[in-house]
Symmetry: C2
Subunit: 320 residues, 2 copies
């Protein structure tokens, strides 16, 4: 599909929480956090999710016209109804623009980008804002040291349009698989109809994030190769042709796994030490960072990839 990312944006809250500060709340040492997760610090927001989203989105929109579609690509909403895209549109000061949410947990952004590309390719929309904003810090269970060490807050955005005549920007390939065998490995069990907040059997920890990190890591190593292999075969591209690899910023160990998949660690965009795991916002925040730092340039091959709760695996290849 001949689509082009015409702008990227990111918002990182000012307030920093170092692993030294966090460690006593988890009854572990800072060294334990750093050795297990690779995360030195994360940022904690004082702003609502929609306001963070609006700040990243404004940067992505730049001086251009308003979008004709807004997709919130995210996992944890601001509130259950209406969907968060409405509050993001409100925070941007827009009205009347169609908007909705796509949720594939940590993979929401590339999934939404693929949907946006399909709609633009079909002529349904011309300029689509895809924005992810997550307050992962809010769902931390301080009794589960490893997962509670991971999360930070932030927002990332991109604006996508049809590729102008004579340019080469393209969505080259997209592969995703979802394996419900992994559904209990990464969970917030509450917040829906199963363990409703009003249900007397719902325990406080049901409303917080739980993850079996080692099991997710093991499953990811086993399941990821096939999406990589298929997307490279679809596109006739070799891993060494990539300009930049933008993975979900799951954890330090996950970010170091590139060589296991034949990916050059030098080209992997890693923000996890400084920003932690920002759930669905991690990929667009890392993408915007890489773009703004000049590590992605027009014509370069960019791989977005990672795993999400589900367990889902994804690899998406763009010619920037």
């Amino acid at each position: 599909m001949f689509v082009k990312i015409v702008g990227t944006g990111r918002y990182l809250p000012e307030r920093v929480e170092t692993s030294e500060e966090l460690a006593p709340r988890l009854n572990v040492t800072a060294d334990w956090i750093i050795s297990h997760t690779g995360i030195l610090r994360r940022h904690i927001t004082d702003l609502p999710m929609a306001e963070m989203a609006a700040r990243a989105a404004r940067q992505a929109l730049g001086d251009g016209p308003p979008p004709d579609l807004i997709i919130n690509a995210g996992s944890i909403p601001q509130q259950l109804v209406p969907d968060s895209s409405v509050f993001i549109q409100q925070a941007l000061g827009f009205s009347g623009i169609p908007s909705f949410t796509i949720n594939a947990t940590c993979l929401s952004f590339p999934v939404a980008l693929n949907n946006a590309a399909g709609l633009i390719h079909a002529g349904a929309y011309r300029r689509v804002l895809v924005v992810s904003s997550e307050i992962g810090s809010r769902g931390r269970d301080f009794n589960e040291s490893e997962s509670a060490s991971l999360f930070g807050d932030g927002a990332g955005a991109a604006v996508i349009e049809a590729t102008p005549e004579g340019e080469s920007s393209e969505l080259l390939g997209f592969r995703m698989s979802t394996w419900p065998e992994g559904s209990s490995l990464t969970e917030v069990r509450g917040g829906g109809t199963r363990l409703h907040p009003q249900d007397p059997t719902t325990k406080p920890e049901d409303n917080l994030f739980h993850m079996n990190g080692p099991a997710v890591y093991k499953m990811a190593l086993r399941r990821l190769p096939s999406v990589f292999k298929r997307v490279f075969a679809d596109c006739g591209v070799n891993p060494q042709d990539l300009q930049a690899i933008v993975p979900h910023q799951a954890s330090g160990p996950a970010l170091s796994a590139g060589p296991r998949f034949g990916l050059d660690p030098e080209r992997v965009i890693s923000r996890v030490q400084e920003e932690g795991n920002c759930v669905a916002a991690s990929i667009p925040m890392a993408l915007a960072y890489a773009h703004q730092e000049g590590r992605i340039t027009r014509g370069g091959l960019v791989l977005l990839c990672g795993t999400g709760a589900g367990l889902s695996t994804l690899a998406m290849l763009l010619r920037w």
Copy 2:
């Protein structure tokens, strides 16, 4: 976009709750419920959301092959993480199929159908299952008689493919607008980062559904004409050419508003008396009903329409 709905399905729970049974819990009479909402009875599920979804989906899939993409088109999840599409895939006994959620509250189904059409049109997928399953009864606030009278449970599904050579099935037009001015008219304020279940300021009623029905109705009457007008103009179709009109089953009064928009009430598919408002499942349930009853036939022009929390307005025109 040349796409064809090749199968529809619906699931309605066995257990019925009449307005006579419900009235005492709301401190009103059955006549009050019926005169305000037009709803005689609704169905209440004993099954999880994903199991209802799977039953509707199996009917829609029929004897055909598994889908290559599953989209959960819904508002209230089974649990917050992973997204509900994972549990639907699990209940269907599938594994490895990409899946995610599209949430535009009550309009999730037509929005997901439009996204699916874009992806099929682009050649990204060939057979997409779109399924909506909602347990609206779980979010009722019995202190708010009008909104608590509305909701019923159920699931609806459709399978969409590219139109075979020589056939005329087509997605002719799609128009949607989202107006954040209406964001506080229809809400579940809790369940997200704003009023987290663990936040001591979150009140029990924050986790339940609230609606200013008269204000929504008034806003809908003012905002809907423009999406109707634009979709008919886009497609060169007149309202009298329609074979069936499948609105969101918001309430009895909403279902009777057709003539205000130039829509023939005889062609409006109304299930609200018998099934109540099933949130995002209402449109696909009514669509499957109309299809199964022979009120929609190949080549017929079908309008999907309605409003959702946001406030969003939508009109989508299909040649079946």
